[in-house]
């Protein structure tokens, strides 16, 4: 038996209190008024009885209550390790949380971690229970043991380093839920990890209940060089009918060692096409730019690879580059147009390479079916709607997926015979030269055209002044995307087949408005062209643990999957076939491994697999660590016991022993009972005395 706060035992001096109460209480307790003490004062004063304890049970009750209170505050606990061993071996449950994030592949960390986990299993007694939880970004139960711990031992040996990042929260939450259902009094979580700082934000809100302990076992690797390819950027330029792409890899030296003559190689479709040797200083960065290559195929798989170092997973970076990133735009201007009528439009479309707009300007007389071939977008810049074959050609063009933008300027004339391609009809121009100019008053920011202007300070469309416009009457009010301040339609949309038609009720030059002179003009025109051209931002790579919406991906490419008939199949980098099945339009594929996933569509006439490049999250390459004790303290709300050597029984601190035994509670309850009995007894005695 020992005490956490032995100094409080000095409080046993308080035992004098009941004694004093018993010896002095009765003197002060009752005062009797008497006419005169004349005769009483003459009697020789004797106080023999007050020096005696009159009620021994009451006195002993009070003494015992005081002793129990003092003992409770002194926090007693049993130090007998034999009995402790009995308690421990009488049953305890541990949860081994084994970090298998890809940073554990650094140097020999994984081997250390496996050894530490197996050692924990070796310390278990026959009545103990162990659970292995393997975690990275998510946590899963690896194995649970009952009498025989061999299954857990084997599961540790079988476990491999994953490709995901570290997240302590889910693992600790899982351990907590396991141990909260445990019937054992001795419950412990053993956390084996390299304790990366990125894995713990502090907002996880995981808190163990009283009695569950957390013992961190930090794994350190030897200091070795570690260079990470954090990203690959691309510069695209049109080259003939294809694209010329320049790949630039960004490298970060995560270690404190200088790296020299690092081989950086670019592989395309499995063939090494370029190599470079570079030097990176400790904790420095470098950018490697490779010679441009031509993308003419539908999809080109590429990998940037560096020579092996301590952490292999971040030494390669996969990507896919797709062709067809060009948006072909045909601008049709009136025969009698001025030279600069399409100047702003052409110049705006000439800027930028995501995507690259290939622009051609023709006059109305040159417009025919052949010219429309291969175009993504046609802009009728102040040219009248067409009837006859040209009109039909435009309708067919849009119905096949093309985009049409009608700019209603000075020259357009409404004819009833015109083909039905616009979302409404327009009238004669209204000039506002004599009155106040018009501005854009309502904009549908949820539409893809205006989506990028939604955020604050991302372009003020209302800054443009409109002096002239054409009144436009829509057949469907919901097709209006923007209105002027006076309520008239500025931009309206109509969907025909797989394509879209947009009508702009003013000009896109500087004659009727000054929009072309405003900063928002260029992104606005680009957004119009991108939307009409169905441009989808190419995704060169994905990260591990990402959920890929396969249906949406197909839809973006213009395909519609019918699940149940032509279910696609994904082939993982490991070679495993993952059938993608579903009944609705959202089916997800979890990208668990680094490398290239291939998605095959069995129902297709020609099965050209769709490749997806998947890279491990590079934040895991940052090996900066956090203090394991700090993490444990924030989870358990108390300090953590250090692990001492390889003791079969973990030596516990007096605080832990006391906390677990909690003898003070029993002592306090006993003291409370005694005090209650004392109250009852003394009340009875005092009533009897009266």
């Amino acid at each position: 038996m020992a005490f956490l706060a032995p100094l409080l035992l000095l409080g046993l001096a308080a035992l004098a209190v009941p004694v004093l109460i018993h010896l002095t209480h009765r003197e002060r307790g009752q005062v009797i008024s008497f006419p005169s003490l004349m005769f009483l004062e003459r009697v020789p004063y004797r106080s023999m009885r007050r020096q005696k304890i009159r009620n021994w049970p009451l006195f002993l009750l009070r003494c015992a209550a005081v002793i129990l209170l003092i003992l409770a505050f002194a926090r007693p606990f049993f130090t007998d390790t034999t009995s402790l061993a009995g308690t421990l071996n009488g049953g305890r449950e541990i949860v081994v949380l084994l970090d298998r994030s890809y940073s554990m592949g650094y140097s020999d960390r994984w081997q250390q971690a496996q050894a530490a986990a197996q050692e924990e299993i070796n310390t278990l007694g026959p009545n103990d229970l162990a659970t292995l939880v393997l975690f990275e970004q998510n946590a899963e139960i690896g194995a649970r043991s009952s009498v025989n711990h061999a299954s857990v031992y084997a599961a540790i040996a079988r476990a491999e380093v994953g490709a995901n990042i570290t997240r302590f929260g889910p693992a600790l939450q899982l351990a907590k839920s396991i141990l909260e259902q445990s019937e054992f009094t001795e419950r412990e979580v053993v956390l084996i990890s390299d304790f990366q700082k990125n894995g713990w934000t502090g907002d996880e809100a995981v808190s163990f209940e009283e009695g569950i302990r957390l013992r961190p076992i930090p794994i350190d690797g030897t200091d070795a060089s570690n260079v990470t390819i954090t990203s690959v950027a691309f510069e695209r330029e049109p080259f003939s009918a294809a694209e010329q792409v320049t790949a630039m890899a960004r490298l970060v030296n995560q270690s404190d060692l200088n790296v020299t003559n690092l081989l950086v190689a670019l592989e395309l479709d499995g063939h090494e096409v370029a190599t470079q040797l570079i030097d990176i200083e400790a904790s420095g960065t470098a950018t490697v730019s490779f010679d441009p290559f031509i993308v003419s195929e539908d999809q080109l798989r590429g990998t940037v690879r560096i020579s092996d170092d301590a952490l292999l997973q971040d030494n390669m970076f996969h990507f896919t580059v797709s062709s067809g990133q060009l948006v072909s735009v045909l601008i049709v201007k009136p025969d009698a147009a001025t030279l600069d009528s399409s100047l702003y439009l052409e110049n705006a479309l000439a800027v930028g390479n995501t995507p690259t707009f290939v622009t051609e300007t023709i006059t109305v007389r040159d417009l025919n079916t052949d010219v429309l071939e291969g175009r993504s977008v046609v802009i009728l810049n102040d040219t009248a709607p067409f009837d006859g074959p040209t009109g039909n050609a435009l309708v067919n063009f849009v119905g096949a997926g093309g985009g049409l933008l009608a700019v209603l300027g000075e020259s357009v004339r409404w004819t009833p015979e015109a083909s039905d391609v616009l979302p409404g009809s327009f009238g004669t121009p209204t000039a506002r030269l004599s009155s106040r100019s018009n501005v854009l008053g309502y904009v549908d920011y949820s539409h893809p055209v205006f989506d990028i202007f939604n955020a604050p300070r991302s372009g003020d469309l209302s800054s443009a002044q409109f002096f002239q416009q054409r009144p436009f009457t829509v057949t469907n009010p919901e097709s209006v995307l923007a209105r002027f301040a006076d309520g008239s339609v500025a931009l309206a949309e109509r969907r025909i087949g797989q394509g879209h038609v947009l009508v702009w009720a003013s000009t896109l030059d500087s004659y009727w408005n000054d929009l072309a002179l405003k900063p928002v003009y260029l992104p606005f025109v680009h957004q119009l062209a991108k939307h009409l051209g169905k441009y989808v931002e190419p995704t060169e790579w994905h990260t591990t643990a990402q959920l890929l919406d396969v249906a949406s991906m197909y839809a973006a490419r213009g395909h519609r999957l019918e699940f149940g008939r032509d279910d696609p199949v994904a082939v993982a980098p490991t070679g495993a076939r993952l059938p993608i099945t579903g009944t609705d339009s959202s089916v997800f594929l979890e990208l668990a491994h680094q490398g290239f996933y291939e998605i095959h569509t069995p129902g297709a006439v020609v099965d050209v697999p769709l490749a997806l490049a998947v890279n491990a999250d590079r934040s895991e390459s940052d090996l900066a660590t956090l203090d394991p004790q700090e993490l444990a303290s924030s989870v358990t709300g108390r300090a953590v016991t250090e692990r001492l050597g390889n003791l079969v029984l973990h030596e516990r601190s007096p605080e832990d022993a006391e906390e677990q035994q909690a003898l003070w509670r029993y002592l306090l309850v006993a003291a409370l009972l005694l005090l209650t009995a004392e109250t009852v007894l003394s009340n009875q005695l005092s009533q009897r005395a009266r």
Binding site: R26, E27, R28, G29, Q30, V31, I32, S33, F34, P35, S36, L37, M38, F39, L40, E41, R42, V43, Y45, R46, S47, M48, R49, R50, A689
Partner: protein, 305 residues
């Protein structure tokens, strides 16, 4: 008796019909010669017109010739006048101790209330026999004084009613000062609990005796003061001084009883020597019974004298 009845005269409630029925046929006779104005039942200090023959004296010119004893003239041939003793009324005053200790009660009637019953009953009795009645209340000084008068019955009752036990008491000085009030010989009833040394009490009361008053002393005590029935060790507080001492009663009960008995005996002895009637009144004893015993004993003694 503790509950006062509502009457026109507040103090009259202290006159209990039961008490009067018991003592109504008794007389509060002065055992001395008193100085009165009118005919009464007491022996007057001067000669008067009663039926009791006193003496013969020689005729003086101016004497009423009807009072000449003609039979004696026939025998002696001298004029003698026949003189008779006079009966007079008396001054009856109550001297009531209203010191704080008189407020003590161990459960029933307080000593002061008992004393008030005593005073009221005696005053009523005296008034009934045409004596002049008065009262003086005192503690450490004289509080109220009603001079004796035949018309002062109501005032006396009022004074009795108002009396409260409020301050510490003192014998000696107030009693000495009272001697100035009682010039004419009469009957004095001193009611107190006599917490004072017997010598001091006697020296004060003796003054009245020396003035020729007939003094009756009523020593009122609570049964708790006589028996000391306490058994719990407690702090005992003096009602007048506020002094406290811790007491274990059972240890000193016998000694206390012995001391209070010695005190009353010493008082009885001293008063008897001074021809002062003295009686201890236990407040647990019915007042009619106690007063009857006292007055009948006094009557018997008066006849014996």
């Amino acid at each position: 008796m503790a509950t006062q009845r509502h009457t026109l005269i507040p103090g009259a409630s202290f006159v209990d019909p039961k008490v009067l029925a018991r003592i109504g046929n008794l007389e509060l006779l002065a055992r001395i010669l008193v100085d009165g104005f009118i005919n009464g039942i007491h022996k007057a200090s001067s000669l008067g017109v009663s039926v009791d023959f006193a003496e013969h004296r020689g005729y003086m010119p101016g004497d009423d010739i009807r009072r000449i004893d003609w039979r004696l003239y026939a025998r002696t041939d001298r004029y003698y006048v026949k003189e008779f003793e006079a009966d007079s009324n008396a001054n009856f005053s109550v001297i009531l101790d209203v010191s704080k200790s008189m407020g003590f009660s161990s459960g029933g009637l307080s000593k002061l209330d008992y004393a008030k019953f005593l005073a009221a009953s005696l005053t009523y009795l005296a008034n009934q026999q045409r004596d002049r009645v008065g009262i003086v209340t005192f503690d450490s000084e004289i509080i109220e004084r009603v001079p004796p008068s035949a018309k002062h019955l109501d005032v006396v009752f009022h004074t009795i009613d108002r009396a409260i036990a409020g301050r510490p008491g003192l014998f000696g000085d107030p009693l000495f000062r009272m001697t100035e009030f009682f010039k004419r010989r009469g009957i004095l009833a001193l009611i107190s609990d006599f917490y004072e040394e017997p010598d001091i009490i006697l020296s004060a009361v003796k003054q009245f005796r020396a003035q020729g008053h007939d003094v009756m002393v009523f020593h009122v005590l609570d049964p708790a003061e006589l028996e000391f029935p306490y058994d719990t060790a407690s702090s005992f507080e003096d009602m007048e001084s506020g002094e406290r001492i811790p007491i274990v009663p059972e240890n000193l009960r016998e000694q206390y009883k012995k001391l209070i008995e010695e005190h009353t005996l010493a008082l009885a002895k001293s008063f008897t020597e001074q021809q002062i009637d003295y009686a201890v009144f236990n407040t647990s004893t019915p007042i009619d019974y106690a007063l009857f015993a006292f007055l009948s004993a006094r009557e018997r003694m008066a006849r014996a004298r």
